[in-house]
């Protein structure tokens, strides 16, 4: 019999205790893995969902609200700015492309996003692509004659069950202005999957107040400059202006990441303590198991087992427990992250909860090393067990 078969037999001999130890290791590991995978996933989700445009212009107020409301549609829209802001930006020599955005009501929680067809355009500098799964984009209707056509994001279409040609509205006052589904988009893996797009004239036409306005309202303008080095000056000018603010969406996201990092650091401390507790538990389990077995160990030694063999058996037991617990924890951690991703996935965040990375391999290796390490002292005890004393009659 090899050291390992003996170790496995010993572990199976006290199945309940071994299982509980392995499960506690697995729980500790899964906590670490799940929180790391989720933290990463949320960050990556924000990065993947970020806009290709470099500057967002909106009404004065919180930069975070502007970016979360307009790009990620996780917050309420900021107050309106005037349509002239968009026209001025479009004519600014420093601006290459400007896209007007109006965010307002929603249909069953899916936000109406009013814009023009430039929003979907593929530019050489754009990473994001929009493709239709069915139908066509809404027509470029004049303000005097809104078409009331809608293009649905993939998730919005799937969840509402709306088909091409269907008409829909939410709220009694909107019954007069139902939208007709003109197209359905392919998934983009961003907040746009949960949006219902319509033209700006339709957006203004649906609202009684906006219908009567001489200068039409907008929520925001997305800007791509000709030269990136003009961003600071554009940003400054629009911030100094009386009624607008400009923000770099990436700067806002990095600030959000900084705030998340504070919470992550607290979590890391808690996880370190959890790891320590699990380590102590493995140590106590192995220690008491070895103490109980002193007589058996002495018998093995009397039958010719060498000290090193006894030492190896205890270490192998401890390493085995750590390996089983570590692997189970790794899988369980990903399962937890996947489930949490499904729940949080409602907001279009958390990407790739099932992707493994090098860090996890490092976690697994260190769990096995630490688990083995916890068995060192008990193994040393077993190594030093005196045959004669422990084989003496018990009474």
């Amino acid at each position: 019999m090899t050291i390992f078969t003996v170790a496995v037999k010993y572990l199976r001999g006290r199945l309940v205790a071994s299982t509980v130890t392995a499960v506690s290791i697995a729980l500790g590991v899964s906590l670490v893995i799940a929180s790391v995978v989720l933290g990463r996933g949320i960050r990556d989700g924000f990065i993947a969902g970020a806009t290709d445009y470099n500057l967002v212009i909106g009404a004065k107020g919180s930069p975070t609200q502007l970016v979360l409301g307009v790009i990620f549609r996780m917050d309420l829209a900021t107050p309106n700015i005037e349509y002239t802001t968009y026209r001025d930006l479009q004519q600014d020599p420093r601006v290459e492309t400007a896209v007007p955005i109006g965010v307002g009501d929603a249909f069953r929680g899916f936000r109406y996003v009013a814009t023009n067809n430039v929003y979907f355009a593929a530019f050489p500098w754009r990473h994001k692509t929009f493709a239709l799964a069915a139908g066509r984009f809404f027509s470029d209707d004049p303000p005097s004659k809104p078409a009331y056509e809608a293009v649905l994001g993939a998730e919005a279409a799937r969840s509402t069950g709306l088909q091409i040609g269907d008409r829909f509205y939410e709220g009694e006052e909107m019954a007069e202005y139902p939208l007709t589904v003109a197209g359905i988009l392919r998934p983009t893996h961003s907040a746009d999957d949960r949006a219902i797009f319509l033209s700006l004239p339709s957006y203004w036409g649906m609202n009684e107040v906006a219908r009567g306005m001489a200068v039409k309202p907008l929520t925001a303008v997305l800007v791509r400059p000709k030269r990136m080095s003009d961003l600071p000056s554009l940003n400054r000018e629009l911030n100094v202006a009386a009624d607008t603010q400009a923000v770099l969406p990436s700067a806002v996201l990095l600030t959000i990441f900084n705030m998340m990092a504070v919470a992550e650091n607290v979590l890391k401390m808690i996880l370190a303590i959890v790891g320590l507790i699990v380590l102590l538990y493995v140590f106590v389990a192995m220690y008491s198991a070895t103490m109980e077995r002193r007589r058996e160990i002495a018998t093995m030694r009397a039958l010719g087992a060498r000290r090193a063999t006894v030492f190896g058996i205890i270490l192998a037991e401890s390493a085995g427990l750590a390996t089983v617990g570590g692997v189970a924890g790794l899988l369980a951690g990903h399962a937890i992250a996947y489930l949490a991703g499904l729940v949080l996935g409602q907001s279009g965040l958390v990407t790739n909860p099932l992707r493994f990375n090098l860090f996890e391999l490092a976690v697994l290796v260190s769990v096995i090393l630490l688990g083995t390490f916890a068995g060192l002292l008990p193994a040393a005890l077993a190594y030093r067990t005196e045959v004669a004393e422990n084989l003496a009659p018990l009474s």
């Binding site: 000056s233 770099l248 990436s250 600030t255 390490f373 040393a380």
Partner: protein, 175 residues
């Protein structure tokens, strides 16, 4: 008398294992340090290279393809993972009353390849180390630029030198 291994001896052996264990765990993390010989460029040099005579321009161009360090403020103009950003002489995003935004001659376009792990702060100076390139060029995604740094990494810059009071007085009293 029953003889158990004396606790001190067990602990003594144990300690060796602990030391070995810690070495195993922590040694791979310790990264090789050594960025002492990297030449530092300043924004003043960059601006001069355009406004001054051609000799200065040639001096700046001689840095092309070499590793340099430039300190400045980060303007996150690209994706939030900072795979691309602008390095500016002034903190343009701080909305500080009296600092006018600068143009292309005082902006370095920085491209990073490895993950950037910093606590972003628009009011803080960072030290960027990367392969320098001067000269007008147009990038498909980020447009035309004058100065670029490729394969860059971001470090915290420990700001300006702190002068001791005596030292300051001494230098101030000089004619």
């Amino acid at each position: 008398m029953r003889r158990y291994p004396s606790p001190t001896r067990v602990i003594g052996e144990f300690r060796r294992f602990v030391a070995a264990g810690f070495l195993l765990i922590f040694v791979p993390i310790a990264a090789p340090a050594g960025s002492a010989e990297i030449e530092r460029l300043t924004f003043a040099q960059l601006v001069d290279s355009i406004r001054a005579d051609s000799a200065v321009t040639e001096t700046i161009k001689s840095y092309n393809g070499k590793q340099v360090a430039i300190q400045g403020f980060i303007v996150p103009a690209g994706a939030p993972d900072l795979s691309f950003f602008l390095l500016s002489r002034v903190s343009a995003l701080g909305n500080y009353c009296c600092e006018a935004p600068v143009g292309q001659d005082e902006t370095v376009y920085v491209f990073t390849t490895k993950e950037v792990n910093i606590t972003y702060d628009p009011l803080r100076i960072f030290r960027i180390i990367g392969v320098f390139e001067a000269g007008m060029r147009t990038d498909a995604t980020y447009g035309p630029s004058l100065f670029r740094m490729h394969d860059a990494r971001v470090e915290e810059a420990f700001g300006a030198k702190i002068f001791k009071t005596e030292e300051f007085r001494a230098s101030g009293s000089k004619p």
